[in-house]
Amino acid sequence: MTPVVINPVEQIVAARSRLKQVAALRAGLALCVPALTALLLAATLRAIGAATWGRVGYVLAPARLGGLRLALLIAGLAALAGCALMAWQAYREADDLMDAAERVDEAVDGHQEIVTLASLAGPSESPAQRAQQTPLFPLLWRRAAGYLERFDPNSAFAFEVRSPLTRSLPIAAVMVVVLAAAALALVRPPTAEQLEARKLRAEAEQLAGSPSSADKELASKILAAANALENPDLPPREKLERLAEAMSALQRQQQQQGPSPQQSAKNASGSGSGNGKGNSEKGSGQDNGQGQGSGNSQGKGQGQGEGQGQNPNGPKGKQQIVELRNDLSKAQAQIETGAGSKSDAPKPGQGDKGNALKPGTNPNEKGPSQQPDALAQGSLPRPDSSAKGQMPSGGAKSGKNEKGGHGDTHLGEFPVPENFQRFYKPGQGPPIEIRDARYVLFRLPTEVVSASGGKIVPDTNRPTASVPYANVPLKAEPLDATPQERQLVPPRYRDLIH
């Protein structure tokens, strides 16, 4: 049997390679657990939010949930990059032959003979250079070879993962604690819109499981509406549009399945007549007008929803559709209520004070402003977009109740009449009251009483008004150039315009 000749320098070099790998692994594992924890939390944050909602009844703020998730993702990826960087750094720093020799020396209890050999005969030293060492060098070589005869770098320097993982656990624990604190700071009771959105989402997910493509399409529409509802950056108009799309898809689905819920509602017990004025206009809205005044149509919607809900003959799918309609209607009501409250409109109870002319707050209108309790409680179905479509546009034709339908919301912004609209001139049309006035012109006294109680001096320069008040739009001035801006005309000049 040929004896194996051990080259101690090669053994030391092999040990160095092994030590480099071990060092890289140890350094990389130091941040591995926090990185994986961050990524895992980022992946499960939505589920955690759902669990928070389902178990605790609180919801993570959707806007900040995304930010938190992004932050966790970035932190996890940064930690992973840090792992790689640290591993690379450790790998480079472990590239030290003397250090490896010391480790080998400790492993074989070589009394620094391995270290001495490595310091005198590194891999860069040629055999000729080695021969020029001290005469005792061959003896040192033999002794080192004897030490390393049964030395295995892989077994001597095993990958040890426990200690770096143990060291990194506190960091991961701190990360989890920080995240928990952040989650506690971000949770809040859900808003009404979020409640509706979650209901819609749940129903959409239920629908998505259906094999029917129509159901899937409807599910996607409802899901889009739910997402729009939860998106705080989306303006209410767009949310309403999404809901209207979902509602129209629902209607199409309904028409494919059988008789419409409206008809069913009509055939039902009629308990939906919670608002007589609404019911009176159920069948009248067949055109596609753009009517914005929704007071009467909302009343109609209530009747429809209630009637459908009480239809005992509907199949289970229809029942689900009815529930969907109800939820969509509630969501619409929530948005409209929210939009009304955001626009600084007077509260419904104050609408009859005539402070401002806002949609739905005109005391002459009959609409949601007069039904605040029903909307707030959500106990009655709200009108849907289809009801709006069926509502006759140009509400002025329908009588007095539609007078306030065009009420502008901003002073100084004159309403732009459509083709079918016109404004009354003074003296025409039904008698107008002061509350119908869009602008009020005040007649100021033409004479000023002296403060000192002396002679009364007439102000001849002040223009006098010809009519006490008017509801007339200002006369369009034929201008060559489009004005840059529109400004409110001072009251003193308004009666000069005819």
Binding site: M98, D99, E102, R103, H111, Q112, E113, V115, T116, L117, A118, S119, L120, Q133, T134, P135, L136, F137, P138, L139, L140, R143
Partner: protein, 338 residues
């Protein structure tokens, strides 16, 4: 010095160990106990240094030195240092001789011309006389009337001094203290050792050391062994460890421990580092190795550095010894990799 014998490194190392062990054994035949002092004395001999032996009278310092030289077959001279001792009494002088009707000055070598010179109670001589030994210790030569006379290798000075009876003594200057490789402290014998001393010295049987080498072969053989010591290899981390020890023992130096800065005025010189390395090399050979380990270095810290540290007044007042400071320094000093 003759040509190096054609023997393998392994045989050379084995020969060193054999010679050292035999010398220890031969000295041990006469001197009871004090193995550490004997070992350090022989270590200094093979390292090419000098030893200052400190101990109270009657412990066998002089006997040990003479026995060591006898065991190795080296010439031995003893100088009793007294206050009236003159430098010429040590190094020699020119004497006027008359031959064939002519009068000429001839150099009469002093007792310094020997392989092993024992300066007994060296601190009792005046500094002028003590300094006469300086050149011999460091340069291994003496100059008399402008003429330099080399000292035959191996040359070794073994000096003794008494830690008590300091009246009428002249403490060795730092420059001279630094020239001693080791300072060995000879303590009182243990009861068993004292009993053995009584048996050996009061009986009819006399004990003497048998020379290992003949007087003719001894210088060459010992020089070969000294050359072997110099061939022992030292790794770079070991050198850094030695440097770290020196730095730790230097007041306000890099890595100095608080005790060093508190109790020392001066630390060891570079000769201290040289002494550590040489001592470590001998220790490595005695262990059958041809490279120095950390343990070899640590073993020589106290004897090689204790006389190179200059204590301040506070340390003397608090009776803080240099050995305790060295012990603290070496304990706190981490090895390079650790």
């Amino acid at each position: 010095m003759g040509a190096a014998p054609q023997i393998t490194p392994t045989e050379r190392v084995a020969e060193f160990r054999r010679t050292f062990a035999r010398a220890e054994a031969e000295v041990g035949k006469v001197i009871v106990g004090h193995q550490d002092v004997i070992r350090k004395t022989l270590t200094a001999l093979f390292a090419g240094g000098h030893v200052l032996i400190e101990g109270v009278p009657g412990l066998g310092k002089t006997l040990m030195c003479k026995t060591a030289s006898d065991a190795l077959g080296l010439s031995f001279k003893r100088i009793q240092f007294t206050p009236d001792l003159m430098p010429s009494d040590i190094v020699g002088t020119q004497v006027l001789t008359e031959a064939d009707g002519r009068r000429e000055f001839h150099f009469k070598p002093g007792p310094i011309f020997a392989h092993v010179v024992l300066g007994d109670e060296i601190n009792r001589a005046t500094p002028k006389t003590q300094s006469a030994v300086l050149e011999a210790m460091e340069e291994r030569q003496v100059t008399v009337f402008g003429i330099t006379y080399p000292l035959e290798p191996p040359f070794m000075v073994l000096a003794t001094q008494n830690p008590i009876e300091l009246e009428g003594t002249y403490p060795l200057p730092e420059a001279q203290m630094d020239r001693f490789l080791f300072k060995a402290v000879m303590g009182s014998p243990k009861p068993e050792e004292l009993r053995e001393i009584l048996n050996r010295t009061t009986g009819a049987t006399t004990h003497s050391a048998q020379p290992i080498f003949t007087p003719m072969d001894a210088p060459v053989a010992i020089e070969h062994l000294k050359a072997l010591v110099r061939e022992v290899m030292v790794a770079e981390p070991i050198e850094r460890y030695v440097i770290g020890i020196i730095g730790a023992c230097t007041p306000n130096g890099p890595g100095a421990i608080p005790e060093v800065s508190q109790y020392l005025r001066f630390g060891p010189s570079p000769r201290g580092a040289q002494a550590l390395i040489l001592c470590a090399k001998v220790n490595a050979l005695l262990d059958g190795r041809v490279s120095v380990s950390y343990e070899d270095v640590a073993d020589g810290v106290a004897p090689a550095l204790r006389h190179r540290l200059l204590r301040n007044f506070q340390a003397e007042a608090e009776n803080i010894t240099t050995d305790s400071i060295l012990d603290q320094a070496t304990k706190r000093l981490k090895k390079p990799r650790a």
